[in-house]
Symmetry: C2
Subunit: 437 residues, 2 copies
């Protein structure tokens, strides 16, 4: 039986998952692939910790060079993460003609175009299914299954930490801080949760799938990003009354000669299949001309789900090696000469429905003043709810709008914020539903 | 630019969808595939009907030979359906060294092993993503994305007609017959709905995915099949009170040296991601060692969703042709020599939770007699609900059980059915939840 040698750089959580699958399911992989995938070497600065994996002697080493310089190793799996040494090692592997598998979304979102050019030039694979949505086969679905479809829109819950926190606030009325502390205790959130809760991790993933769906270069810097740190139980309670939940969504839409690319807390209705995606689960809906709407759902992070996606990539490459298929798929879904620089629509130009909450003085005329300002900017109100009465004289006024333009919304809210009767900065949450795209 | 010629046999609903995608999205496919997919010839006995597709002159012909005997055509798409001439044409295409794409689940479930052997021998592809779950990439997910996973269980809503009917009964209290009539009026159900409502279509699909997941030959005949014609609004109402819905599920489970393979109406809890899959939508959950639980969701039938899956297969084959990859994937997910005949567990031996409804005389002692019989056969009752009082003296008694063995259940129900106080054959619906597998 033919053997294909794999080298692993970095044996942290996901790296350990990959090692575990390659070793524990080695017979299963043989039965399916028809070749033996041999995890020949694993390089990590920590060679002491017991990872619960039965490495053969000499497999676990501290020197990455023993992976990168081994001529037998044809597939290098980069599981270090971050944008520093990981990038350097990937470049080295590519230069040495090795195929690369990575789950490094931050690196791909930031430097993916450069890495893809290098891999293309060297005629090697750069596989990254595990970079978006963990075990959900979103890359494969976009690049292969939906190849005959014109993609119209994607909306995704792509960060398990944020989804866990929002689920806690929604189901248990927790405040953001205590929900975050729980997520950290459960191991779903990092000690420094900034990348997650500020929405950047979700933006990394959106940058990747937008490129695949629409045939554009990876463009992280133009994505509008807003995290979930400002979401209060109060707004989530109001959302519930309108049959909405608040989710941190990645939204990528085809708008003809531009795309939308934005990450922000979003209200979705119970008719949206993402509505019931709770806990630390991920899901992504894809609207396309042939399939209508479809959804993938699963664990978007973690040792084994992400490890599963990495092993899927390793096998794809192994099958190309075994059949001499070379680079069978274009690395970014479109052929290199068909990839364009498609501008991202500035968030000021998007049109959607909005939820506003104002803290207003409880006296006659305030509501009509606010409504008048919204009307002046062409923002049409779908419903108004004035909730309870507070002792200090401020009451929450909640409004849902019809479709409006963000630039007009910004102007109106600025003017409303300047009213003497309005005591707090107005809250704005965008709504995604049937008639908002 | 290289050109790959495709021939289509049968231009009914799905065939038309395939033609439409290949023609209307031809430029998009070029940009992604890097080659031109030319729908060179379409054979259908009806060459008159306007299908809303702009065929070039000479493309639409009535003679299948013009597809099968054209040496330029490398990929033949069989969209005729059924087990007669479709099988004959597929064999002819294979003998002529052409790759075949089909959505014909009845044929694959019944004769798939034979067709796969023929394709393997001839060294051609036999692709069938569209045979299960329409646009959901279930075949690709099992065969590629989850290649590193040991699959434990799959549960699927795989027939849109049944799901539409059950949704109507659930949401609107319709009787089965009127829900079926509505499905027919909406175009979701055939004039002869037997294949759908009796569960056979779902069984065809389960036979295919069980083979892929567990490395066994396709085995349709041992699948236990029960349709939805006996489902009443009354049982669905009781289900609701226990937070269950009734869905027609395909259930395929790994049980060590055997598999479960069964299709029947099943109660699922609102915590199950299939719970909210309504209307004519399909979904399948997959439990596996690495990914935990994941789900695919989308339209499982119809011109364009199914057409999308067929085009995905065409492109996969085209990419193999372009790169000389040959048969890159084993046709049944496992290598031929690793495929076993795994016995299907007889339904009498499954263990699950049950819902029973008895029509019992409204007099003292009946409930305790029934409970006593269940206890005698080792069936432990989780809850009992005696609902209202009816004028003719019979009242419904509803019971949910803990995990029990089907053989014991059958014996107990037979004895209960023999009681003078029980006026109708007891109703049994299996329950699928966290502790039933």
């Amino acid at each position: 039986m033919k053997q294909i040698h794999v080298g692993l750089l970095g044996c942290g959580t996901v790296g350990t998952g990959v090692a575990r699958l390659l070793i524990n399911n080695r017979d299963l992989l043989r039965a399916r692939v028809g070749a033996d995938l041999n995890l020949k070497r694993v390089a990590d600065i920590d060679t002491e910790t017991d990872r619960g994996v039965a490495f053969d002697p000499g497999v676990l080493v501290s020197d990455a060079g023993q992976v990168l310089n081994d001529p037998e190793i044809q597939i290098v799996v980069e599981m270090i993460g971050g944008e520093g040494i990981a990038k350097e090692f990937i470049h080295q592997a590519i230069q040495k003609g090795k195929h690369v598998v990575t789950a490094n979304k931050a690196l791909l979102a930031g430097k993916g175009n450069e890495l893809i050019r290098a891999a293309r030039k060297a005629g090697v694979e750069l596989a990254y299914e595990a970079s978006v949505g963990g075990c959900m086969p979103i890359i494969k679905t976009l690049r292969e299954s939906l190849v005959g479809n014109r993609i119209h829109a994607m909306t995704g819950i792509l960060n398990g930490t944020c989804n866990y926190i929002l689920t806690k606030i929604t189901d248990e009325g927790s405040a953001f801080e205590s929900a975050l502390a729980e997520a950290q205790a459960e191991g779903f959130a990092e000690a420094d949760p900034t990348l997650d809760v500020e929405g950047y991790d979700t933006a990394h993933k959106l940058a990747i799938i937008n490129a695949l769906a629409y045939g554009m270069e990876i463009n992280l810097s133009d994505i509008y990003v807003e995290g979930i740190t400002g979401i209060t139980p109060e707004d989530i309670d109001f959302a519930r009354e309108f049959r909405y939940k608040v989710k941190l969504l990645a939204i990528g839409k085809d708008k003809g000669d531009r795309v939308e690319a934005r990450v922000h807390p979003t209200m979705i209705r119970d008719s949206n299949p993402l509505f019931n995606v709770g806990e630390n689960l991920n899901a992504v809906t894809i609207s396309a001309d042939a399939v209508g709407e479809m959804m993938l759902y699963g664990y978007g992070a973690g040792m084994m789900p992400t490890g599963s996606a990495v092993v899927g990539d390793i096998v794809d490459i192994a099958r190309n090696i075994l059949t001499g298929a070379g680079s069978r798929l274009p690395l970014l879904s479109y052929q290199p000469d068909a990839i364009r620089k498609i501008p991202v629509m500035p968030v000021e130009e998007i049109e959607t429905n909005y939820y506003f909450r104002f803290a207003a003085a409880d006296r006659p005329g305030v509501l009509s003043t606010i409504a008048g300002i919204l009307g002046k900017f062409g923002i049409s109100i779908a419903s108004v709810h004035q909730k309870g009465r507070k002792i200090d004289g401020a009451v929450p006024i909640v409004m849902l709008t019809h479709r409006a333009r963000e630039a007009d919304v910004n102007k109106a809210l600025a003017e409303i914020n300047g009213l003497e009767a309005v005591s707090e900065t107005p809250v704005l949450i965008r709504i995604e539903d049937e008639n908002s795209d």
